[in-house]
């Protein structure tokens, strides 16, 4: 074989290797974006893409937090209710008085911290399986939110709260428009990526998920790491709640479905459901893929029942592909 041919062969082999190592969710996201662009080219323009990111930000944020719990081998089903509690509670406490926004946001984070701690303690000390513990939390938190507000949204969210979901900076060089929600998303993703992939805590979390018994024998503080994972998940849910309340306002079902969608996003993004493997950028891309899928089905104008069926099938196919990919790459 000539030198040139060998060189090309080597390059293409490397190319295949790169694609082989690339997360399946990146490819899924890219494919969905391309199909959407065929229908609405505006999504590839900065303004259209930023709008899309703004809509997908709440799910991406909560999925990043959920990843930590999945990585240590659990599930957090309470994130949806926590989002609802954040939205309803903020509206109730702030009641259209912009002066109260900041301390109410702090209070909501405090509540999230408490919820995450309780989840973590129940799972680690009471040894309740996380799926049951967080299911109980889901019901209690939702009940609390409804009891507190009397069953119907109370109070209004002022503009300085809603800006997190709605404010868009204009005349930004290069991008044109930059929604505040996207800035929050980037910050959260950066912090969580650093936490999982660059800190000792992150490395230990992966170890705990992979083999908790071995980790414990090796002196890893398994309990503390698990509790911290639940706390991170709860805090990300509160952040998502602020973004969602800002974007769409107050309602009693604001957070419904986020727990299952965030788990789906994690699986799409290459996380292993029994723990030990996962990547934050992968999960974010998985979450954005889910948002893109929803958008695509909107744009195609399929009748609703068909839309749900298609969404389910694509989700299964994508998750199956993702899991298979992991097994091939070892």
């Amino acid at each position: 074989m000539t030198v040139a041919a060998k060189h090309t062969k080597a390059l293409s082999a490397r190319g295949v290797a790169v694609i082989g190592r690339l997360n399946a969710s990146y490819l899924a996201f890219l494919a969905l974006l391309i199909v959407i662009a065929c229908i609405t080219p505006s999504i590839l323009e900065p303004a259209g893409f930023m709008n899309f990111l703004r809509r997908g930000a709440p799910l991406a944020v909560v999925a990043s937090g959920q990843l930590f719990v999945i990585v240590v081998g659990g599930f957090d089903l309470s994130v949806g209710s926590l989002i609802t509690l954040t939205v309803m509670g903020s509206a109730l406490l702030i009641n259209n008085d912009p002066g109260k926004t900041w301390w109410v946001i702090a209070t909501m984070y405090g509540i999230g911290l408490l919820a995450g701690l309780i989840n973590g303690l129940v799972v680690t000390y009471l040894k309740v399986p996380s799926i049951i513990a967080t299911l109980g939390a889901l019901l209690s938190i939702k009940g609390l939110a409804l009891a507190w507000s009397g069953g119907s949204p109370q109070g209004y969210l002022p503009d300085n709260f809603r800006q997190f979901g709605r404010l868009t900076l204009h005349d930004v060089p290069g991008l044109g428009v930059l929604p505040l929600a996207v800035i929050v998303l980037v910050v959260v993703v950066a912090v969580f990526t650093w936490l999982l992939h660059r800190t000792n805590f992150g490395r230990l979390a992966l170890v705990v998920g992979d083999n908790a018994a071995a980790a414990a024998l090796a002196g890893v503080p398994v309990r503390q790491i698990r509790i911290l994972a639940f706390v991170l998940s709860a805090l990300s849910a509160v952040t998502a709640g602020i973004l969602l309340g800002g974007f769409s306002g107050v309602s009693t079902d604001a957070g419904d479905g986020f727990e299952l969608q965030s788990i789906a996003a994690a699986v799409l993004g290459g996380a292993k459901l029994l723990g030990g493997r996962g990547s934050v950028p992968g999960v974010v891309s998985g979450a954005l893929s889910l948002t893109a899928l929803f958008t695509l089905l909107n744009l195609l104008g399929l009748p609703k029942p068909l839309r749900d069926a298609v969404q389910g099938l694509i989700l299964i196919a994508a998750a199956a592909y993702s899991v298979r990919r992991q097994e091939w790459s070892g």
């Binding site: 609405t40 009397g150 069953g151 949204p153 868009t168 974007f247 769409s248 079902d253 479905g257 909107n298």
Partner: protein
């Protein structure tokens, strides 16, 4: 999300069951409601919850009993803000008639048919009810239970109906077709010919909502308004906003938005704001957040209602029946007003919660506005 899917599947299954096939496109009912909309209501002026449109009075002297009375109420549930407002209003009405009501016994079915059926059975076997008021959770499932109840006590139904005429009277505002006619007519009158409208619906298979859409579709087709699409939003604000944004991205200018209920109307309007587009002609409902947005953004809008004051009428009717006084029947059609630009200021009140339904007839009732969550 799972629960909602289950409800949708259940609603679809029920809608498809041949034995109780309900048509949501009944031209006779459409014509009847269109007639009723034009008739002046009869009854005390200024109290629409005591008025009736069309129909006749029925004799209830056979139910006459000495007071004070024990009224039993089987509530489908308080699972949405409309029902919360209605329930608060009903409790205030009970307080107004303290001297006539010895006991007000309530069972909350938490939006479950089987629980409501067992509630009705246990109320009739355990308690001594002088009269039973029922707000049925679903039409077909509750029919047998109500037929059995009719044999023991006088029964009054309101809101959703049942497939039997044994209740003394069934209280309901004119109906879904009227809502659809009001809203679609308004939109058609305020847009140019060939204008584009997006229809936003909550979910399929619910009779009240299906009739609204069916009527609106007729009117739009009649008047040549182009329907770009009819989307299901699950009553979710974020979904509504995303769906509307996608439509705007796809079609550019959207002239009007038609909604079968107003709970997510502000989300739809915000989608236009965020996209920097002109506000559409829109219909909402009598929720405070929609009315306030209407006023502050100077929208071209109308708010047809499904008045929560019907919860007052149920108690009033029960007392009339037990006193042997005539009531409208077998169907008591309440007036079904729409809030227009002219009366907007009467109903806007920022001190009330965002999903408070303004057409509650509750302004001069005991506990207003605190009982309804206001300040």
């Amino acid at each position: 999300m799972l629960l909602r899917t289950a409800v949708i599947v259940a609603a679809l299954t029920m809608a498809a069951a041949p034995a109780i096939a309900q048509s949501f496109d009944d031209p006779k009912e459409f014509a009847r409601q269109r007639e009723l909309m034009k008739m002046p209501p009869q009854g005390p002026a200024g109290k629409p919850w005591e008025q009736h449109v069309g129909g006749q009075m029925i004799d209830t002297s056979k139910y006459k009993k000495p007071g004070p009375y024990r009224i039993c109420f089987s509530n489908a549930g308080v699972g949405n803000p409309w029902r919360v407002v209605g329930w608060n209003t009903m409790q205030a009405e009970v307080e107004l008639h303290k001297q006539d009501i010895a006991q007000f016994i309530v069972a909350d079915a938490e939006s479950k048919d089987d629980k409501q059926i067992s509630d009705i059975n246990s109320m009739l076997s355990g308690q001594r009810c002088d009269i039973l008021i029922v707000s049925p959770n679903t039409t077909a499932a509750l029919t047998p239970a109500i037929e059995q109840a009719c044999q023991k006590v006088p029964v009054i139904t309101f809101d959703r109906g049942v497939l039997t005429s044994c209740p003394v009277t069934h209280i309901v505002p004119i109906g879904g077709y009227a809502f659809g006619i009001y809203s679609a007519q308004f939109i058609a009158d305020h847009v140019a010919a060939g204008a584009k409208v997006v229809a936003l619906r909550i979910l399929p298979g619910v009779d009240v909502l299906e009739t609204r859409w069916s009527a609106a579709k007729h009117i739009f087709e009649e008047k040549g308004v182009k329907i770009l699409g009819a989307e299901f939003t699950d009553g979710d604000r974020a979904k509504t906003k995303s769906i509307v944004s996608d439509y705007i991205a796809r079609y550019g200018q959207i002239d009007a938005v038609w909604m079968d209920a107003g709970a997510t109307s502000t989300a739809a309007i915000e989608a236009f704001e965020d996209a920097g587009k002109k506000y559409p002609v829109i219909n909402g409902e009598d929720q405070q957040d929609f009315l306030q947005k209407w006023k502050s953004a100077n929208l071209t809008a109308i708010a047809p209602t499904y008045p929560t004051y019907q919860w007052r009428t149920a108690i009033i009717a029960a007392l009339h029946v037990l006193k042997g006084e005539a009531v409208p029947g077998p169907i008591w059609d309440l007036p079904d007003p729409a809030i227009t630009q002219a009366d907007l200021d009467k109903y806007v009140n920022p001190k009330l919660p965002p999903l408070h339904y303004a057409m509650c007839g509750c302004e001069s009732m005991p506990g207003y506005p605190q009982r309804w969550g206001g300040k």
